[in-house]
Symmetry: C2
Subunit: 380 residues, 2 copies
């Protein structure tokens, strides 16, 4: 299998000090290591790796256990065995949004059939693991509708909202992308092995952790920044006040990405976080995938969300006096012009004129007892 399109061949990596340093750093340095990241950014990967691996000046003690355990050949072999390819900043296949991150990943592992990704037309759909049936339903609908509208659904393959969003996209027979906290060969959660297989069949599974890496809490938090960064916008479907999904939302906010949230019952703890973010003006309330598209669509290309369903009432197109006369007609019985004048508070002449126009448009009719509504116009 050729990886030329999305990244570089393993052979190339071995001959390129910069790229192989990035892979080594991916294994040795935690993604959001606040001490090391600035050093690496300053020096560049190749020089930083030289310093770290030689523990220059004794400044990199913390890295030595991993440096000594590192076997780069083995990492590349594992990558090959997993059917994964490497993505690097500046080379094709790299999600451009990652460059906006303060702590950009050193490299990405990609596994799956999808070659070209239009990241401009992508939406992160995220939310709680502990989702309610409401949240699962909405996530599935959003996944399906976004995918059907030509938008790529990106999520984390977790239990709850994530999985429902991926499944919605798959139900629309559209590729979807999962970004994992552990290695791309480590299905997590294990119960989603089959879901991840399905995602890979047409889409992609991405991770900044090397093959074999196990997911840990800090890596989930680090992973969330990737979900926010690669996409044009993030929609949080359900999140409690302390949900990890809000960390994705926070990254989207800091990165200046579109941030949307689905409201939910105020009685539901699973919507307390989304409702709070809407209330605070941090997230835009969205009720449908179409409203998400409206927010993230490149300018000029935005499909407008369908007009709201405004029911037309029978007297909506009537002028004030005819409406008052019509409203003054009893629901079932007939009545006289004089009586209508008193009830409607208009003159007898105005009643006559109004009844004339109402009769012409089929809303009222004459009967033995006077004027009455035509049956089809009587409210139920």
């Amino acid at each position: 299998m050729s990886n030329a399109k999305l990244g570089v061949e393993a052979d190339q990596v071995r001959t390129d000090a910069e790229l192989s340093a990035r892979v080594a750093l991916s294994v040795v340095v935690e993604p959001m290591d606040t001490k090391l990241a600035p050093v690496i950014r300053e020096l560049g990967a190749a020089r930083a790796w030289a310093a770290i691996s030689s523990n220059a000046g004794g400044h990199f003690d913390r890295c030595q256990p991993r440096v000594q355990a590192l076997d780069l050949e083995q990492v590349l072999w594992n990558t090959h065995q997993a059917g994964a390819r490497l993505l690097f900043a500046g080379l094709p296949g790299w999600p451009p949004g990652l460059d906006d991150l303060e702590f950009a990943p050193f490299t990405l592992w990609a596994r799956g059939a999808m070659a070209d990704v239009d990241w401009m037309r992508s939406v992160a759909v995220v939310g709680s693991r502990a989702a309610t049936s409401y949240g699962l339903h909405v996530a599935g609908e959003f996944g399906y509708d976004l995918a059907s509208s030509g938008y790529l659904v990106v999520s984390g393959a977790a239990f709850g909202i994530d999985a429902a969003a991926h499944r919605g996209a798959l139900a629309a027979e559209v590729p979807t992308i999962a970004i994992l906290a552990g290695g791309v060969d480590r299905p997590y959660p294990l119960a989603h092995s089959q879901l991840l297989d399905q995602i890979r069949a047409t889409g992609l599974v991405l991770s900044e952790a090397p093959p074999g890496a196990s997911p840990r809490r800090e890596r989930f938090l680090a992973r969330n920044r990737l979900i926010a960064a690669v996409t044009a916008g993030t929609v949080v479907v359900e999140a409690g006040l302390r949900s990890g999904a809000l960390s994705s939302a926070g990254h989207a906010e800091r990165l200046g990405r579109v941030l949307a949230a689905v409201p939910g019952p105020v009685t539901s703890a699973a919507s307390a976080g989304t409702n709070a973010w809407i209330r605070d003006g941090r997230a835009v309330l969205v009720s449908s995938a179409a409203q998400c598209v409206e927010l993230v669509a490149p300018i000029g290309e935005g499909l407008l969300a369908p007009e709201r369903d405004e029911l037309t009432l029978v007297y909506d197109d009537l002028a004030e006096v005819p409406r008052r006369v019509f409203e003054s007609l009893p629901k079932l019985r007939a009545t006289t012009v004089d009586r209508l004048a008193v009830i409607a508070g208009v003159s007898g002449q105005e009643v006559m004129a109004a009844l004339g126009s109402l009769e012409l448009t089929g809303r009222v009719e004459r009967s033995a007892g006077g004027w009455r509504r035509r049956p089809q116009d009587a409210p139920g």
Copy 2:
């Protein structure tokens, strides 16, 4: 029963041309008659009534049927019979917020035990007749909690949200006020006769329509402006896109009153209107009565809504390295310092220091196989 406190005696009305003109106008002119209201505002009630009742210049043809049917003595007798009293702008008992209206009522009929009303501390709780069990639950909670917090709950006594809000306030044994579209002696809906009796027992029932007047659609719309005007703020609990409750909301908005809405499931048509108003920034999202109070409370007196329930996770107070070490410990098994250094990506020395502080705070312990989490800290 003396009405001196909230209005004027019927005897006074008869001797005061201005006040009796206002009563006459209440009977003859529809509250929001766009043709007549400006004339009446211009002339004042007494001169306007003289012109209208004499059909000066033939300009008031539309009023003549009602002018001829008017029996002011009878209206005042009906008022007395209903145990109602009259309220007039400029006299005690008049809700000051009504003066902000473009079409202020000419007079109000009041029926009930409540004498002094602190309109500054009042909230309109409104919503659809076709409410869901969610909306009814929330309206009841808001009614109860607002009333318990010293806020007056004002609504329209309609089916659905209105009734649930009133009942919530009554359950807190706090007076509540209903504003009706028909006369204060015409319980509407009829099924709420008992509810209205309960409201009157400690609170008030108000209307700008004279006793005996039947509620009609236009009067409901007119009534909604009163609910918005008398209160410091309006909260819409549930409203479809075409709900009459949004007319109250629109009035609150135009009057510059606080406007809040309760979000709901995007799958519920009964929340489509509230969600849309929140989305459009027209209403502030509120999840609790405390959040309403925060919005409407006079400056300086605002109770802050309780801090959000932020659960503290076990490692929240840990610094970066100890947190990484703690997270690297397996959930159940014990492990070695060397292994932890590799997993956490820190030096052996840092692992030792971290384990020392984690041991002191009771998070980890030594065992035969090395270090492990103390059982109480193991996630479930």
